[in-house]
Subunit: 635 residues, 2 copies
């Protein structure tokens, strides 16, 4: 094998690698160097016999000198959740490595969640060798980890691609089951491009004999870096000009335009551009459920989270008074669209900006025009460059004030005395607990529904699985976010009023029922010294399900745990790295939240077990349940 | 709805139910009553919005009076493992209930394991309503938990059956996605029949509006019980006569016949018949890896576990001296067949007994005859009835003695003094620790390989995932076994020398890396008061992977846990229900094992953390690794 001269230098966040022409390296090394070159600096997963030959290249000198980090998780589902969190924070590709069958299937639900929520995840699966020199008929053999055929399995070999067939076209935007080493590098790069293009998960199935095979470095030489920007389809100049012309014309003629900041704006990395447009234009702006924190909610024309009739009246009345809606990064599903209850002012105009189309709707004439195959990223960028904000003629009702945490006028019965903690109390106090620039991960559950109407401080990054709603996801996802914050510090900060030198906190809000699903990953959070504040809402079970059905049924009960003992069992034997606090009263909560908010040392893990009422859930959850018509109609 | 008169009486283990003619009941109730009627007395799972309307019928008076038990697990993968364990112990159908997408996908790896290892599991998935009176176009809506389409998801509705399409024909023998309430009961029964017939998992997808709909009880009236026996294909009288004739002819003319007891003998519930045949005939008999404990290994002609050239020389030399092999419940895969190294005496005859064929092979003439579509169960039963053992002419080498725990002549360097515990020491002492009638669950891992060559005491039931090898499976599976032992006590005892009134122990052998995967289910074991002895082999990581590759690599490391603190965190706050012991020396181990073996009170959970060397693994694992050719051949 030809020696490889490697010279790595960093251009801001993006490493570039220079290689000798015509050099080769083992394919395993190629994979890890390619990952590092695109900013995937940590890889999650679990070792298994079919992926060990790949994992060996974690220790190749070039990979070690890059600094690529292996984050072994306790199980594969947690690895998938962590990779998802890594991508949600960094906007890079989160990567996990699992083994044939037993590992990859365990991870599947996490991948499906990433698919549903447009998260860039690469799932590398170590599979059976492409050839086995010791047995010619190995394809006819029933391999361990591989399900045999239903019929005649004692006579017919298994389908080696059975798991591949299950995920292809269902939960992956791109899949490569490698069979030819000559094209393997191209296939890896193609999957990466597709992941960026679709912002969805992709799979690479790597036969156990491939990592040791030599490949040419051409790809790394010719395209040292692949960015998301490289992978999207831009419109032609003419197209772009026409669209910008149409958009600005509609904007200039609108009296009450509104910007709706939706999730794909974040996934395609243009939240900062959208916020610049908002600050420059002073156009009323709303967030969506899944797009929460895309818009800087401290901006002076922020009008709250719009979720159709499921959201606050104070918000939807304003939204529905707007004559033009600019919906950026639009993603339509029942959760993000208030169970399809979005309503527009009569005769309003709507422009939807999507990774695959720009759509103009004029409801007055029932007309629409759609530019298909165009990604909204260059359109938004160009719009921000070209717009002449002096030509806007905004005429909002001057009596309307922006949305703040005071807008809801919550009636919290708690007073200054020590008293039980309620969800409505949390809605009052938690927003004040957050600092500008903090990173918040929130589990699916009852509390998640009240967060919808928080007005976050500037530059806060909010991460939550708002649509797929797989409980148990947030804890391992927070591990991934924490690792990403180590690999890509302050990625989410784009200007704003962050105190000089402020180190953003990572805060996890987690329900007890959900936490039990994936609790072992606390151990990995500890292993990687991730400073995090973990708030466990202990309400004795699945309160979100109780809100839907069976409020007092035993199926919604869970075992009572001593949450504050977990870290001791999971590796912090002497309490060196963690503080664990039980909180039962509003007074104690206030004290602890204040301490955490103002602390100057943030090197420890903080776990708060906050006791809540079993049947206490926020009003927003009740509205969702009603909208979803969960109630039973007995025949 | 017509009132239902229900009178349940028990005929041994099988409940029978008598109903009024032309009565109806809600479909949800039908499902649970049908399950109970086939001996599935506990159901595992996790509540989720799409299954709550079904779970409500757990509280129907008839279901409650049956005594059907809901065993809520911490997550769905663990529910699948538990249902698998339930079935492995009881030979009934293990059942789990999950919710659309997030739940069912999480469980998938467990189901695939059941499929690969022929375990009878019913996976009921709560899915979207079949109709939604509040929105006509609900099929066009992107529902939560349901992955949207890759292309044009903002315009086109999702495939409601996307997850169904993934599992169908891949990891299930039978699948019903219910769409018509009129045929729903038939479909449920058909899936149950298929599960029994194939001894593989089946799925029923239940729309959330179905449980409340009324169904007729005809099925429960006409077929109050469905047994596995009812679901298999028996040969015609003539066929059967011909086969028995051929089998006995071969047996009577054989001088050195051998019986190989394989896994499907257990799955089709005829291990006791096989053992009767062995005791009556005194034919040499061998177990297989997956069929471990099918044969009563204390029988006087037990010759050890045969696994081709991967097994012990002391065993394969005897096997390969036999002129006729009767292979009952044959299941062929690389693990169960020593990486396809089974070798027969020149000119030997072989008869394979399988649920779908009986195959006669005469290697002398290279001839074979196969009776397809015949299940071996009636053939084995008939064979036992018809054989005249006085006509056997056994001529085994008289110098050969049966296989016992002394056969291996293990050289254990440990002496009576306190010293480190090694795998070879465990091979010496663990067999003596087991009592007749105990139930042993063993995790995939290094220790599992030495268990292969234990000679178990009589009536011991051994449960291990020997082929699919998904680590983390055993702990939740042990929960399922424990529940099954409550529901169906002493099912595994068929005569033998069990002390009067002896309460079989449940013992779990579990590696530390595997235990971390699914550790939270300790909590459920505690909740259901399952007396169990849990032995955690603490060797600081994935030693089974170290044996294959990367012995000192960091990817094989795991976090150190304080195992003995886990139960305190998971609900046994005051140590009322558990004993937790760290064991570091052979002397302490001997003391504890003796205590446990002889204890007369077995109402507590015992957790033993046994410290082992990081790189210590049994010889049997080394043989497997070599046979599997894991070693890398660098190009």
């Amino acid at each position: 094998m030809a020696p490889v001269t490697i010279d790595t230098f960093m251009d801001q966040d993006e490493p570039h690698v220079v290689f000798n022409q015509s050099a080769t390296m083992p394919f395993g090394e190629y994979i890890f160097r390619r990952l590092f070159s695109i900013g995937t600096k940590s890889v999650f997963g679990v070792p298994g016999d079919f992926n060990l030959s790949l994992l060996e290249y974690l220790y190749a000198p070039s990979v070690e000198s890059d600094g690529l980090k292996w984050v072994g998780t306790c199980n594969e589902l947690n690895a998938a959740y962590a990779a998802d969190g890594y991508s949600r924070y960094s906007n890079k590709i989160g990567c996990l490595i699992t083994t044939y069958g037993v590992g990859e299937l365990s991870a599947l639900n996490g991948i499906a969640g990433s698919f549903a929520e447009n998260v860039k995840v690469l799932h590398i699966v170590g599979v059976a060798k492409s050839m086995d020199s010791r047995s010619n008929n190995f394809k006819e053999r029933n391999l361990h980890h591989l399900v045999p055929r239903l019929h005649d399995s004692n006579f017919k070999g298994p389908n080696h691609k059975v798991y591949h067939d299950m995920i292809k076209d269902n939960v992956a935007c791109s899949v490569a089951y490698l069979e030819d080493i000559e094209t393997a590098c191209d296939q890896v790069d193609a999957v990466i491009r597709d992941i960026y293009r679709y912002s969805k998960p992709g799979y690479i199935f790597v036969p156990a004999d491939f990592p040791d095979m030599s490949v040419r470095l051409d790809n790394l030489i010719n395209v040292p870096h692949i960015s998301q920007q490289d992978c999207i389809t831009s419109p032609t100049e003419t197209h772009l000009f026409n669209m910008i012309d149409m958009i600005t014309t509609w904007m200039y003629s609108s009296k009450t335009p509104a910007i709706l900041g939706d999730v794909l704006t974040d996934r395609y990395g243009v939240s900062d551009v959208l916020n610049k447009l908002i600050y420059a234009s002073k156009i009323w702006n709303f967030s969506t459920v899944m797009g929460k924190s895309v818009i800087d909610e401290s901006n002076p024309s922020y009008m709250g989270q719009y979720n159709g009739k499921e959201g606050l009246k104070q918000v939807y009345e304003h939204f529905e008074s707007c004559d033009l809606i600019l919906h950026f990064g639009v993603d339509i599903n029942e959760i993000n669209n208030g169970h399809y209850s979005f309503t527009y002012k009569p005769n309003a105009k709507i422009i939807q900006f999507h990774p695959n189309y720009i759509r103009f709707v004029d409801t007055r004439y029932g007309e629409e025009q759609i530019f298909e195959g165009v990604n909204f990223v260059p359109v938004l960028q160009e719009l921000y460059q070209r717009i002449d904000v002096s030509r806007l003629s905004l005429k909002y009702d001057p009596s309307v004030t922006p949305y703040t945490n005071e807008t809801m006028k919550l009636k919290d019965p708690a007073n200054d005395q020590s008293t039980d903690i309620t969800q409505i109390h949390l809605q009052k106090v938690i927003p004040k607990f957050l600092n500008p620039g903090d990173v918040v991960v929130c589990e699916t559950g009852s509390f998640q529904f009240s967060v919808r109407d928080f007005a976050f401080p500037t530059q806060l990054k909010y991460i939550s699985q708002g649509f797929f709603l797989s409980i148990g996801m947030a804890l391992p996802a927070a591990l991934g976010v924490g690792i990403a914050m180590q690999d890509h510090p302050d990625t989410h900060i784009n200007g704003g009023n962050i105190d000089e030198g402020y180190k953003p906190r990572l805060i996890l809000f987690e329900g007890d029922g959900a936490a039990q699903m994936t609790i072992q990953e606390l151990s990995t959070i500890l292993k990687f010294h991730i400073p995090i504040e973990i708030v466990i809402w202990n309400n004795n079970g699945y309160t979100i399900e109780r809100a839907i059905m069976g409020p007092t049924r035993s199926y919604n009960d869970i075992m009572s745990w001593k949450w504050t003992k977990l870290f001791e069992a999971f590796g912090d034997f002497d309490g060196k790295y963690t503080n664990n606090t039980v909180i039962e009263t509003t007074a104690k909560l206030a004290l602890k939240l204040k301490d955490l908010k103002n602390s100057s040392t943030r090197d420890r893990i903080e776990l708060l077990e906050v006791k809540l009422g079993v049947l206490d859930f926020p009003e927003q959850l009740r509205c969702m349940v009603e909208a979803a018509a969960f109630k039973r109609n007995k025949k």
